[in-house]
């Protein structure tokens, strides 16, 4: 398989000026995506994952946002692109699926009309061709009875079907990259399973890359090739899905995996819980953002933010424990025994 770079983000920072001060939502995120890949960005609310995605699409207006860094889509730097050119690219080559389908569909317009708008904007198809294309896309995403459904309004669709409409809208122009921002969070488990299955099959059929943003580790396990774990506006770990789930390198990832209840658990057993809360991004900590909650925190963790260090081949973690001077001391699980620190 040839690996062509599709998207590359270099040291992106996004700050918002608010009445309460500057929020540093994204504090230097770098990653890349290859063609055909599904990359998942995992993190808790407020960690900056959605802002990162919206910045790719040019959806963070500046002001109030201050953006620095570079985002390359193939050879073009999206942050330097003029508004017109960016708009031509977004919606056709790059498209987005949002969390809550009801808020992103216009309730006063028929679904067909809203899909047609996308085609009017990005293609030169005639009215008949447009309708034909919409019908075909409805078939593709599994909306039965397209003839009738095109003329209906969003409120006549159920939650799962609405999400399918958004997905149809996203794949209408044959995108190379789909950004799915919490695509199943608003849905019930049985519907979530349907939508995930659909996204997977679309990825195979259309050979698109997917940037999946979610807080649900289960969803990620099902879809992603590679995973980025984001905490307090920074990438704390990146690597193959298997590596992240089976040998997590960062204490945050470890704790996150341990605190999600899994089906294999005995009932009434105490959940492993992380103490504390994520840091306030109005005044982010100087050192590692996770250090106040980390069982393994050392002096350096509070003073200096660790760079992304190599845990294994292709598996990086931003943790001082992975530093070569520290590694000699860590135990077989890759972690300091707690006693050694006190």
């Amino acid at each position: 398989m040839t690996t062509t770079r599709l998207l590359e983000m270099k040291d992106l920072t996004v700050r918002f000026a608010t009445y309460g001060g500057n929020v540093q939502a994204v504090r230097g995120i770098s990653f890349h995506m290859n063609e055909g890949e599904c990359l998942a960005m995992v993190g808790e609310s407020g960690c900056g994952k959605s802002v990162t995605a919206q910045t790719i699409m040019g959806l963070t207006p500046s002001p109030p946002a201050t953006i620095s860094g570079e985002i390359f889509f193939r050879e073009t730097n999206l942050l330097k692109l003029g508004r017109k050119k960016l708009q031509a690219l977004c919606g056709s080559k790059i498209s987005m699926i949002f969390q809550d389908p009801m808020t992103y569909l216009n309730p006063t317009m028929t679904v067909g009309k809203q899909l047609e708008e996308v085609l009017q904007e990005h293609t030169r198809l005639s009215k008949r061709e447009r309708l034909e294309k919409i019908r075909k896309t409805f078939d593709l995403v599994g909306i039965p009875n397209p003839e009738k459904r095109i003329k209906e309004y969003p409120h006549e669709f159920s939650g799962g079907m609405r999400q399918r409409v958004l997905i149809a809208m996203a794949v209408l122009c044959g995108p190379e990259l789909i950004i799915a921002d919490e695509p199943t969070t608003a849905l019930d488990v049985t519907i979530q399973a349907q939508v995930l299955e659909l996204l997977k099959s679309l990825r195979e059929k259309l050979h698109t890359s997917v940037l999946l943003i979610t807080h649900d580790l289960g969803v990620v396990a099902n879809m992603a090739d590679r995973i980025l774990v984001v905490y307090a506006g920074k990438v704390v770990e990146s690597g193959d899905a298997d590596a992240i789930f089976h040998s997590p390198a960062h204490p945050y990832t470890k704790a996150l995996l341990a605190s999600a209840p899994s089906a294999s658990w005995q009932s009434k057993q105490n959940l492993v819980s992380m103490g504390g809360t994520p840091p306030d991004l109005f005044s982010p900590p100087v050192g590692c953002g996770f250090s106040p909650r980390c069982d393994y925190a050392m002096k350096i963790c509070r003073e200096k933010h660790p760079p992304l260090l190599k845990a294994e081949e292709g598996h990086l973690g931003a943790c001082w424990l992975l530093h070569e001077r520290c590694r000699a001391l860590t135990n077989s699980q890759g972690f300091f025994p707690k006693e050694a620190l006190s």
Binding site: D188, G218, F245, L256, S262, W265, K268, S273
Partner: protein, 319 residues
């Protein structure tokens, strides 16, 4: 410890909401269940299946359309004023959304002590002391008494909601999706707190949630609801290891597992379509049009709960 005596029981409980002259929404349509003292009963189902309505009807936030709620052997509809007051004190609720369920214009202290005042449980210094004690019990600090809800994070607000429920010395707490608005790392904190409080205070919980893993973990027994009826009820380990109802099976197989290797091997039962509207639920079995095993009998007759194993009840004609 779970005792044998039943604390609260729902008998053929129904709650309908009339939409207009010809349409009624049957949110809860004839459910029967009991909760033993000291037990946690989990109630799971997808959105719109009536689980929250069932919980609210149980603690008298809604008055039932039909059937009855029996609390400590007495029908709650026939309680006199004093007994009813006692019942509403002993049956408390924790709500889903920690942002919407706290009054933004009331301090934490006022929010928590509202119940104390209404039931005249303490006053003056003792009242303040009780509030501070409650705050510490749920893992907050007593300095938080005079703060307002906006100063707290989601997890902390949920703790305030829990303290408010505990303020009136309840016996039964209906937890309506207490963790679904919270982040994974915070969910575990809240659930551990609920478990600890149950042990310390001998509470009985009805734990309503759509998160099957969470329910399994916290509950002794689990009831599965679909479109206003209970389709299966069983001890939690049993339900998860040997689900019987086709809906329960599908529901369990739809839950994503945080393990890529297991996910790849997993056989999913994918349900077709959506949950039908509770305004005109299908005749016969509610699940028939999404069930791959449905027979003609399922269309004609609504299955009732039958005991298959020890304490394992299923409402299905086929299994």
């Amino acid at each position: 410890m779970i005792s044998q005596d039943i604390l609260i029981e729902a008998k053929n409980l129904k709650k309908y909401f009339s939409l207009d002259k010809s349409h009624t929404l049957k949110a809860v349509d004839d459910i029967s269940l009991c909760i033993h003292t000291g037990e946690t009963l989990g109630l799971v189902g997808e959105s719109g299946c009536g689980k929250s309505t069932a919980g609210r009807t149980l603690v008298n936030l809604y008055s039932p359309t039909g059937g009855s709620v029996i609390y400590r052997g007495k029908d709650t509809a026939r309680l006199d004023k004093r007994e009813l007051r006692e019942f509403t004190r002993e049956a408390q609720m924790i709500f889903q959304d920690p942002y919407a369920s706290l009054n933004p214009r009331m301090t934490v202290g006022d929010t928590i002590s509202e119940g104390i005042d209404i039931y005249r449980l303490a006053s003056g210094k003792a009242r303040l002391q009780r509030v501070q004690e409650l705050l510490e019990m749920v893992g907050l600090r007593k300095e938080h008494t005079d703060r307002y809800p906006y100063e707290f994070s989601g997890g902390q607000r949920q703790r305030i909601g829990i303290a408010r429920a505990l303020a009136v010395n309840p016996k039964l707490i209906v937890c309506d999706e207490p963790t679904s608005a919270l982040d994974v790392s915070i969910q575990a904190q809240v659930v551990n707190l609920l478990n600890r409080l149950q042990k310390e205070l001998g509470l009985t919980y009805l734990f309503i949630s759509h998160d099957l893993n969470m329910v399994k973990y916290i509950s002794d027994r689990v009831a599965v609801m679909y479109l206003g009826v209970i389709v299966e009820i069983a001890p939690s380990e049993d339900l998860y290891s040997h689900p019987e109802h086709p809906y329960t099976k599908a529901l369990l197989s739809a839950v994503p597992v945080a393990d890529p290797r297991k996910e790849r091997q997993r056989q999913r039962i994918l349900l077709e379509g959506d949950v039908p509207s509770p305004v005109n639920p299908p005749r016969g079995c509610r699940f028939q049009d999404r069930c791959s095993f449905a027979e003609t009998r399922c269309n004609e007759e609504q299955p009732t709960l039958k005991e298959r194993g020890k304490g394992h009840w299923t409402a299905c004609h086929i299994f």
